[in-house]
């Protein structure tokens, strides 16, 4: 799942939205720098910061609370006020893009 989708996120979501007011991060869950880097290195994922949530501080609450969601890649859209406006149930490019664009359209 991830080897296909991680590089696709850049192209299908971020470049499609192409808005300077969008910040996008790829957050690795539960792995160390070496593991995350070698994976990204293999796929040559350029242009997006890769964050390391090694202790699952941010990921775990979703895994605990959100039922029926594909565990990875989990996508979250947070609006300008810091509220969650989108959580992926599965990898769905159109739904993610729509959520981002709706959030960008709000003041």
């Amino acid at each position: 799942m991830c080897s296909l989708e991680v590089p696709d996120i850049t192209q299908s979501i971020i470049e499609r939205v192409n808005d300077p007011e969008l910040t996008a991060w790829l957050v690795n869950v539960g792995e160390d720098f070496g593991t995350a880097y070698s994976f990204i290195d293999t796929l040559e994922v350029r242009g997006l910061p890769i964050l390391l949530d090694e202790d699952q501080t941010y990921y775990r609450p979703y895994a605990m609370e959100v039922p029926g969601y594909a565990p990875f890649p989990l996508q979250v859209v947070i609006d300008r006020k810091g509220e969650i406006v989108y959580l992926s149930k599965q990898y769905d490019v159109d739904a993610a893009v729509a959520a981002i664009e709706a959030a960008l359209a709000e003041d």
Binding site: E31, E65, V66
Partner: protein, 467 residues
Amino acid sequence: MRLLLLLSACQTPCSEGFAKADGVCYPIASEQEEPEEEVIPSVLDLPYGDGITTFYQESITQGFYEVMDASDFDETQVIMIGQGGALLVDRDSGAVSQAWDGVRLLKVDAQDGIAVGAGSEQPMLLPEFRPLQAWNLDRAEDIAIYDDLIAVAARTQGVQLFNAAGTNRLGNIATDDAWAVELQGTRALVIDDRDLEFWELSDPANPVLVDSVKLAGEGRDISWVGDRVAVAVGGWGGQVLNIESDTLVSAGLAIMPGSVLNLSLEPNGEWLWLASWEAVGVAWVGGEEPIVVAHEPPGQSAMAVIAGEGRGYIADWMTLTGMDRTGLTSGELHLSQVHAGDILMVDPRAESLELEVTNWGPAPLEISLELPSGLSGDVGPITLAPNSSDSFSLTGAIVDAPGVRLFTDDADEEMVELDFRASATGVGSTHPEISLQGFEWPDGGLQPYNSGDHAGEVLFLAYWTSW
């Protein structure tokens, strides 16, 4: 011990210290420290029906057996295999009649008391653990035996065909990425990447493709009885297909909680057992579409299941579990939004709520609600036909509404008490401020990232892992 790992069906190699089986990375176990037990709510907590009876649950006492796969062995026994070795298990009692230690095999198939195993070690003939000859493969994901033929699914190295004695290589089905194989007569079913392929092998040196169909997800296991086929797909369920005049025709999906990596049709081909780590499920597949009828929590982790008549024998990690479905008659309540016991996480801003109820059972289900003060709306009763959904509309103080009672005639869920709580991580809640180390490729230099530095922007997060 219960290993709670987040699942994914990525095809990439596992991290160091992990090994892959059925597309899932799990810790290379025996000498390693076990992961700390995490309290993660699982489907075990869900108010599903459990029309399945567990008739034995035996801990594996000898050795360090983590059983990963199961197959019919003979009339009275099934064979289970995994880290640690192989076990012959009595169908009625779960008693181990024979154990072979020290071989790491992850997949097994058998006929008339002869078994074949495959995995991280060389594919072998059991019980003498004799490696197949003429062998030169990196890795075998699955193995099958039928009459005089053995087939080994070996990812990019094709499906290798051997005689049943394992002494001669007879041929090869070329594949992009072969994950599973089943044999019947001179025919083979092969999961090749996202395709299910149907091959004629009467001349194993020259396999002929009969038909091929795109699966609904990444296939990981095949069960095949007569003209009916079930494939574990995408981790989330079973895809049922029928063979009609040499053509594979999809009959629909049996969707299950958890990650379904293994499944098994009963000998009559009308009932399907599905194993996910969190639940064992039974689906009726004798009709037009599959209907998931019941779930039952396994003893530990249902790695695999082999179905007998009315029964499922579960390779349950370090437990052997026997289950029986023949008592099933009722409808089955399924509440899609409910998790963490009977707590329903809702949008903290919500002033109304649609409580969705689904009947996953084979019989109609009558459902009614009893509401606490402060909530109003439909209370039913409503009658749900098998395999259908409806919803109750509620308004009022949703978040602070404990003790909504839901009554059903589901035999084992006559009353479910729901507690609505504001979600801390759902849509509508505030995301905690993020402060993590990170890097960009190819530079790789670590630096801090803080969401506070991006106030007023829209933030998109994609959580991922390398496995």
